[in-house]
Symmetry: C2
Subunit: 346 residues, 2 copies
């Protein structure tokens, strides 16, 4: 396997390093050949090349089997609304160029960590859902404009039936292998795009008659996610709603530092933690590497290296049970990012 490694900004490099270490030790143990090649993206790439996604990085990703991604973003751009070049453009363009239309975000709980969650134990014990977020359409990629006098701004949200169909099939197939329930989240009482989602998904549902389909408006879904997260099996939704709901869902696991994701397309695949670049923590050795390491497990799963992926997940479970964890999930005696990584690949 040829793996492109894009550490990115903030804590990205620290956590990605642990994920690469883990993959190397898996390669050793299971006698695989994994080739890693690093490239620059995000604020780091702007600093070096004035481009959040340099062509060399994009080329590398295209010719690799998979991309291992860290995190992106820097406060100096967040607080400068008029910046023309921004780190996030690097990630968004990468998703688009690689055609990564489905972002898959599993949410489960670890029994050892349940009391860390702000939610009461009985509400979350046994939660097991996966969010299918459309990743290359919607308002993220629609036309953006400012009028001449800078007194009015516009973002356009567009979805085509084709864009809805391809991720919908993936989500139904996932549901078939799980608890056979799919919930479409939209705002069909207000948005035209949502109504197209509802219509398209309803039509496709006929091909998956063993899966139960239901619908939730996004406002209600944001409430149900906390009131009764166990009701969810597969959630299917558009780009922006998926962004919001998956971050919200991270509270169930007790830390956003635990949540991994896979972004897949027809040809390419990218694996990244759902947390961001967490600039305040950069270089302090306090960032939780588990989301990055679990993203590496999703990478292995993607190539049907099931046993290898399981080895990572088992190691993560053991580290959690032994409390060999960073401070976000262990506030008594916490370990550094690197120490957690060392324990896991040992």
């Amino acid at each position: 396997l040829k793996i492109a490694v894009l550490p990115g900004d903030g804590i990205g490099p620290e956590i990605t390093e642990q994920a690469v270490k883990m993959l190397k030790s898996i390669a050793d143990r299971f006698d695989h050949d994994f080739h890693f090649e690093k490239a620059s993206v995000g604020a780091t790439a702007i600093d070096q090349f004035n481009n959040p996604l340099p062509e060399a990085t994009l080329d590398l990703c295209k010719e690799s089997d998979a991309v291992l991604f860290g995190a992106i973003g820097h406060p100096k751009y967040d607080n400068d609304p008029s910046a023309k070049i921004r780190p996030e453009q690097g990630l968004l363009r990468l998703r688009k160029e690689l055609g990564l239309f489905a972002n898959i975000r599993p949410v489960t709980t670890y029994s050892k960590l349940i009391d860390l969650s702000p939610l009461r134990r009985e509400r979350i014990e046994g939660v097991d859902m996966v969010i299918y977020r459309e990743l290359t359409g919607g308002i993220y990629f629609g036309e953006k404009s400012l009028n001449e006098e800078d007194t009015s701004a516009t973002d356009v949200c567009t979805y085509s039936v084709m864009e809805i169909e391809r991720i919908t099939h993936l989500a139904f197939k996932a549901a078939q292998k799980r608890r056979k329930k799919l919930t479409l989240v939209d705002k069909a009482n207000v948005l035209e795009t949502s109504r197209l989602w509802r219509k398209t998904v309803t039509a496709i549902a006929k091909e998956y008659s063993d899966v139960q389909l239901d619908f939730l408006f996004v406002d209600n879904a944001a409430m149900q996610m906390i009131l009764n997260p166990k009701q969810f099996d597969v959630i299917l939704t558009e780009n922006l709603f998926g962004d919001i709901l998956s971050d919200e869902a991270s509270v169930i696991s007790g830390s956003i530092g635990l949540l991994a994701s896979a972004s897949v397309g027809k040809k390419n695949a990218l694996f990244e933690p759902i947390h961001g670049s967490y600039p305040e923590a950069t270089g302090k050795g306090i960032a939780n590497p588990l989301a990055a390491i679990l993203s590496a497990a999703m990478l292995l799963d993607h190539f049907h290296l099931t046993e290898e992926a399981k080895a990572i997940r088992d190691a993560v479970e053991i580290s959690i049970n032994l409390n060999i964890c960073t401070q976000d999930i262990n506030n008594e005696y916490h370990y550094s990012t690197e120490k957690v990584g060392d324990f896991l690949d040992g």
Copy 2:
């Protein structure tokens, strides 16, 4: 005061009836003259007049001092993505025609109810925030279109500086009277409209130097709302984000049946519970009237009838403490919608 009463759909009529009863008893007690006039809106109005906001209803609202609104929405439209006339259009058009640009949604806790919340006591005890949601702009009111072949749909999100400014001033003024903290929620790392919000709000902040301004991306805000809701004082945000976040925030109080809102403009004002029409509960006498009754309290506050508003809030507090509540917040021995209303105005 001349008050237009728009009960709407589902449980709307039942809960609105209790709110009107409460206002009548307040009028008696404090020797005021309140005039109530009913009008039709939503699915009910479609059934009767084939129009979710008949002109007579709109006229009545325009010439009244305030509107008391129930709820809107019916599943037969939700599951018919091709319906051209929908109940929600009635509410949206009403908001637009009356110029109700600011929707104000307070979120607090009742100590008696804290153990009902899915969130642990220590995270929510003492939460006291108010969400200022922009209500007449953004993607709700932008152009909506389907292409000719029905294979692609578009929603447009536009914000002007003027639209951002007027609600921002209200939000800062509210913060000055509270804990002097304002959090702008946006997605400025992706959306042009969000960047205009950030720029405009940052400029206005200079006029309110006693208020601390900070920023959160909406995905992070959806997470922080659950992780640490006590951090929030005033939240300011655009229409769609406000819709999602305020429903999410309702879990803090233990039931969405407790949350009231005021929608204000230059001239008119409308008061409504944030919950929806809850069709499954219609006519069963199980709907919680407290959100509607607390909306009536917000109505009184709006006209500086502070003592009167307090009388309602005190009565609500007593009913909660005595457990004279509907089943959503009292699952031992629950009272009907009407019984709760009777107790309150007694």
